[in-house]
């Protein structure tokens, strides 16, 4: 099966590979796995507490080319978005962008899971922030 050019590009030149300080309250870490293929993916986001904008994102994925490309793309997409905007990213958007074949759709699912898990982790660390934002939102 041939990979699309975009997958190959992300695979050969993955964006934002690396790691951030897991203990930092500004950092959310998502570690997810796809049992079907045994892949494992770690995606981290660094969130500005005042604006809730994701200022940086890093990933490290052990898996096939599509899994690496999906997570590489996910880090590119979340950067500059608020956490709420980032939650809108759907695996189907990744499938479309990378032209993933049906057998590789689970790789995009994994990337969506990773975003969600990283944001979930960040929110857990920032319950107080979350609460004040929710109140502010309700007042508007």
């Amino acid at each position: 099966m041939a990979y699309s050019e975009k997958v190959i590009d992300h695979y050969k030149n993955p964006r934002n590979v690396g790691q951030m300080d897991k203990a930092s309250t500004e950092v959310g870490t998502g570690l997810v796995g796809a049992p079907e293929c045994g892949d494992v993916m770690r995606l981290q986001i660094k969130v500005n507490p005042a604006t809730r904008v994701i200022e940086d994102a890093k990933f490290k994925t052990f898996g096939c080319g599509s899994a690496i490309a999906s997570s590489s793309l996910a880090t590119e997409w979340v950067k500059g978005k608020t956490v709420d905007e980032a939650l809108e990213i759907k695996n189907t958007d990744i499938v479309k962008e990378l032209s993933l074949p049906p057998v590789k759709i689970h790789c995009s699912v994994l990337a969506e899971d990773a975003i969600r898990a990283a944001i979930g982790d960040w929110k857990k660390k920032n319950v107080a922030v979350e609460h004040s934002m929710a109140t502010a939102g309700a007042a508007n």
Binding site: V32, G33, P35, G38, V40, F62, N91, H106, D113, R116
Partner: protein, 246 residues
């Protein structure tokens, strides 16, 4: 195999009337008990096809024997001069026979197949959990326990480090020894997983014999967890073997 075992789960039509002599046969019969004529293809699962109860454990030697016996008796060449219908049935049954044999003889394929018959689709669990998370706006319930993911991630990191050093031409004997040790470690984990699987097979089969559905479901979940864990270990074995071969 006693007939009552076979019908303890799904209840497909139990009897079928022979098209040739009118005798009643069990629905899964390949041949009429009376006239010996080939019977129509009916939708049966692989266990039913071989007249086996739906259990994880089976007698591999007995299965192989029935496979060879049936392949001879069902072979389309034998029906070259029979009616068009019988020719068709022999083709269909031969093809089903091969699929059933290939699936049931392999312990993992058989396990996944039986789980599927019980309504568990390994391929879909992750997808379903994602959909649920998206719908409720929460982080996804991971199929694999977090500590296992951590462990797998760490092992992958180490493996990558070893591989990079290996590939950059550093023929460090300690590195090679490290890879060898890692391979032995993961391979023994794979064997352990297989032993655990066999123990769970026995638990499930016993529960099935006792018609204890609650227990069956509980053991089923343990089997799914174990298979998920095993996929990760299998990948690590594959990766370390590749690293050693390069």
């Amino acid at each position: 195999m006693p007939a009552h075992d076979m019908t303890s789960f799904a209840e497909p039509p139990t009897k079928i009337v022979c098209w040739s002599c009118g005798r009643e046969n069990p629905a899964s019969a390949q041949f009429c008990d009376g006239c010996g004529k080939l019977q129509p293809s009916v939708p049966v699962d692989y266990f039913q096809f071989f007249g086996l109860p739906r259990r994880f454990r089976l007698d591999r030697a007995a299965l192989e024997k029935s496979f060879y016996a049936l392949s001879r008796k069902l072979h389309p060449d034998l029906y070259a001069r029979a009616g068009a219908q019988e020719q068709q049935w022999s083709l269909e049954k031969s093809s089903l026979l091969n699929d059933a044999w290939r699936t049931l003889r392999d312990p993992l394929a058989r396990t996944e197949y039986l789980l599927e018959l019980e309504g568990v689709r390994l391929e879909e669990q992750s997808r379903n959990a994602t959909d649920e998370a998206a719908a409720s706006g929460t982080a996804k319930q991971q199929i694999v326990p977090p500590d296992l993911l951590e462990e797998v991630f760490e092992l992958n990191m180490q493996l990558e480090e070893m591989r990079t050093a290996h590939a950059s031409g550093q023929n460090d004997p300690a590195m090679a020894a490290g890879l060898q040790a890692a391979r032995r470690h993961f391979e023994s984990q794979l064997e352990e997983a297989m032993e655990q699987l066999q123990a769970l097979w026995a638990e499930w089969d016993n529960a099935a014999d006792a018609h204890n559905i609650v227990e069956q479901k509980a053991v089923q979940q343990k089997i799914v967890d174990l298979l998920n864990r095993r996929s990760y270990i299998r990948n690590l074995v594959r990766d370390v073997q590749q690293a050693l071969a390069s």
